[in-house]
């Protein structure tokens, strides 16, 4: 980290929501900053879920990054700071060389608040992007999926997602209860529904519930999966940015 770095956002809360969406799954990780923007990719400690964030420089009102650098952060610490952002607050991120390198976060509203936190040197294994051709791709209202997962969570710990030609079914079963939610291809809130092959797969509801927290960032979520394959959730962000999650399936014998 040698050159100047400064990124400004007029709405601090969107950055706070991104940090929350990552911290739901990840404890620590490296942001990769470049003159074009930033990226972040990490798996949760159990390697069941992956978060993949891409923010182009257009996401920020002002963005100056003179050279590539890696910024390791503890998300619990970062989240405590960014969650202090209120309505109308602007945010500035800067790096500072003091004390061996710190991230300076400025929240500007009625008061100007400056927080710093240490930049961590984290072992960074090169984490490849998961590129999978899925048989099912659907875009729907984020809140529709959020409510469906809440309904399913009443009955069991796992949800079975079944994509038929015209219907997406979300089912869960517990010892005493069961839940079934059906979303029709032409139904309200379903914007795209493509099924090249009928598919059925099971996922942990607690992990999906953590991922769907990102619904606050985007009105629409794109869901992709295939039978006994990971599920992919993508949320579009301003400036053609994207927040993507992958979740491993639960496969029963």
């Amino acid at each position: 980290m040698g050159g100047k770095f400064e990124a400004k956002l007029s709405d601090a809360r969107i950055f706070s929501q991104i940090v929350d969406a990552i911290s739901a799954l990840i404890d620590e990780g490296n942001y990769y900053f470049s003159p074009d923007g930033l990226s972040f990719r990490a798996m949760d400690p159990s390697h069941v879920a992956m978060v993949d964030l891409e923010l182009n420089k257009a996401f920020f009102e002002d963005y100056v990054c003179e050279e590539d650098f890696v910024l390791g952060v503890n998300f619990d610490e970062l989240s405590k700071i960014t969650s202090r952002a209120g309505a109308g607050d602007a945010l500035t991120l800067e790096t500072s060389e003091e004390e061996g390198g710190r991230l300076r976060i400025k929240l500007m509203g009625k008061a100007t608040r400056i927080f710093t936190l240490p930049i961590l040197s984290l072992e960074s294994e090169e984490l490849p992007r998961l590129e999978i051709d899925f048989n099912v791709k659907t875009s729907l209202d984020s809140d529709l999926l959020k409510q469906a997962l809440k309904d399913a969570g009443i009955a069991g710990e796992y949800v079975e997602i079944i994509a038929e030609d015209n219907t997406l079914k979300i089912e869960s079963r517990g010892e005493r209860q069961s839940a079934q939610i059906s979303l029709e291809k032409d139904g309200e809130g379903v914007h795209e529904y493509n099924v090249s092959e009928s598919s059925k797969s099971m996922y942990a509801i607690d992990m999906l519930s953590k991922m769907i927290k990102a619904a606050s960032l985007s009105d629409v979520v794109t869901v992709e999966f295939s039978s006994d394959m990971p599920m992919k959730f993508s949320f579009g962000l301003p400036g053609q940015g994207k927040l993507t999650y992958f979740l491993a399936p639960r496969i029963e014998k």
């Binding site: 404890d27 069941v48 992956m50 992007r129 999978i132 491993a248 639960r250 014998k253």
Partner: protein, 201 residues
Amino acid sequence: MEKVAELKKLAQEILKCTKCKLSLTRKNAVPGDGSLNADIILVGEAPGVQEDRQGLPFVGEAGKLLTSLLSSIGLSRTDVYITNIVKCRPPKNREPTKEEITTCLHYLRKQTSLIKPSIICTLGRIASETLIDKKLSISKEHGKLKKMGKITYLPLYHPAAALYNPKLKDTLFADIKTLEKLSKNAKITLNNFNHYKKSKI
């Protein structure tokens, strides 16, 4: 702190441990080896002469048998985490004393709480009595699953016992099939989809 970093820190602590007199006679403490994200932990009794020399668990003759056992159900040593109840070799391969077990056990508890396996396979009487039930009879209970909290335990004969007893060896290969059935129901991670990786950052 990240899990991997915590486990590495714990291993360093074990390597420097002087909490019992086994530290006076060991060449190397043996924290454990394998995947830090494993869903299965195999727990033996204590390091032997080869393990003490190399600082790795189950690398002697019993280790070779353990590798064959895992291989017979499609698992490799890197798919699981292998460790012992006691991390240092007792002199002349004697059994660890109750005091040594009590002193050392918190290391295994910490390893388990960080790795979060759903299956623990106890190898031999000492590991089975310590982790499952102090009254457990390995000759009666081997190969039978015990669910305790979130973890399923599978007591097996110790591979070293089977080295000199072909009948026990057959029993071990039969019992490990239970682990095969369990592991197929075990946690699937994104690492299982490595072959779909095409691009890199």
